[in-house]
Amino acid sequence: MSHKVIVPIGPYHPLQDEPEFFRLYVEGEKVVDIDIIIGYNHRGIEKLAESKHFDQVAFLVERICGICSSSHPYAYVLAVEDILGQEVNVVPERALYIRTIVDELQRIHSHLLWLGLAGHFIGYNTVWMWAWKYREPVLDMFEMITGNRNNYAMFKVGGVRRDIGEEDVPILKKTLDELVPAIDMFHGAVMDDPVIQARLKNVGVLTKEQAIDWCVLGPTARASGLNIDIRKDEPYGVCNRLDWKVIIEKDGDIFAKTKVRILELYESVRIIRQCLDRMPKGPIDADIKDVPAGEGIGRVEAPRGECFHYIKTDGTNRPVRHKIRAPSFMNVASNKVAAVGGTISDATITLAAVDPCYCCTERVIVLNKQDNRKVMNGWDLIKLSQEKTNKLKEELKDGRTK
């Protein structure tokens, strides 16, 4: 859906009062109710898609969300190929491999980005800087393969636009090898840091039943024990030919979500390595000329969950109806349950746990229940959550020293 959840005005909300993205109703410390107002980023992409022909829509769809700009075009291309018959026999072999490589690389860069921001929200700015420092080589890889750091324009109905040259493969492998120790460092830093554990354990919990009721997707669902991963359920590209495993956690709190995302980084690296070894030579595009009338559904596992595209065509070269649904549409709605009940200092990290667009979580405004007077806002909540980390650190220190 094009109505990506986005933040109204500037990640730093200006002085005057206007509808914020999250409006937390608070009594004292406890979050009582949450009111989510979206629509500030509504650009009417679905309507625009109806006025563009099939090749142009791929570019339009790519600019829905900045961080997962390879999932939407992939899902759109799959939807159109669904009309033409199965993706496997439409798209040449090598293109399938390239698609999977780009998709997994983009998952790495998106998870690293989230890791940095999550660290920022609980008070470790150095984690933010380091995570984004290790993200830069991944963006360099994108620049090498596709020419641009974010919007790749790689996907095309029936294949891929650019090929991965022979000389790029070793560089890609070297970067991945350098990335693994960095992920180990983050894995170690997050897993056994007592303060982070104390800070993220059983915070913003989403139980399995709630996850089912709210139909959440991706890491948010997998952290609550739901075994949903489109790459396994409805394999696309070469996902079913490679061996990797879906990461499932049970307790549904933010710690589980962080763990799922970090372990997925390892899986993505493994997938890309296998793809690079097994990539055959051959054409990369089946240049489809026309699309017959019909309906098609395309689904892809984006870093945040299932990206869903539905296309209805009537034989002309323009889609009649193009329904887009991004994973955050469902995940963010589930914040109503996850954030309520927690303290306001945990609110920011809870809202960030579903990993919506990065600036969505900074425009939170806290009004106390009775007279709706503005008590705190976005950055203040970040301060609160950072302070809570510090308090836990003291307790743990005293705990150890006592």
Partner: protein
């Protein structure tokens, strides 16, 4: 194949059309009044996950597709209903069944003007406050 048989055997007379486009895509249409029961059956009993509902304007009126995904096999079941009434299309809201549907129904109400009876808080989701009342952007007649 058992999932298909379960659906067929349970809803047999209610299903108007059944089309298996491919192994993973099944579309079947149901009468407008039956949608609440069908969705309840698919979601509660069969445990299918509600993916999204997509509404569109067709020459004969409006059409809503409720997409359900069976994650164990990866098959998508899309339930289609047709609303002939052009001026005031309306249908039973499924938000009471599960809260996930709240946003998408608000969006369809805002964009296509389909009214959802029984929706807890049917108010504007995406369009700006000063958007003219009667205008529905996703309708065919509305300029892009």
């Amino acid at each position: 194949m058992d999932m298909r048989d379960k659906i067929k055997e349970r809803l047999d007379k209610k299903i108007i059309a059944w089309e298996e486009k491919s192994a993973k895509r099944i579309y079947f249409s149901v009468a407008k009044e039956e949608i609440f029961q069908t969705v309840k059956f698919l979601f509660r009993e069969l445990g299918l996950r509600f993916v999204i509902a997509s509404g569109m304007q067709t020459p004969t009126g409006f059409e809503i597709l409720y997409h359900f995904s069976d994650d164990s096999t990866g098959v998508i079941y899309s339930v289609r209903i047709r609303l002939e009434d052009k001026e005031h299309p309306q249908v039973e809201s499924i938000t009471p069944l599960f809260p996930a549907a709240e946003w998408i129904e608000r969006e369809m109400w805002e964009m296509l003007g389909i009214n959802f009876r029984g929706h807890p808080n049917l108010k504007r989701l995406l369009l700006a406050e000063d958007w003219p009342q009667g205008q529905y952007p996703l309708r065919q007649d509305h300029e892009s």
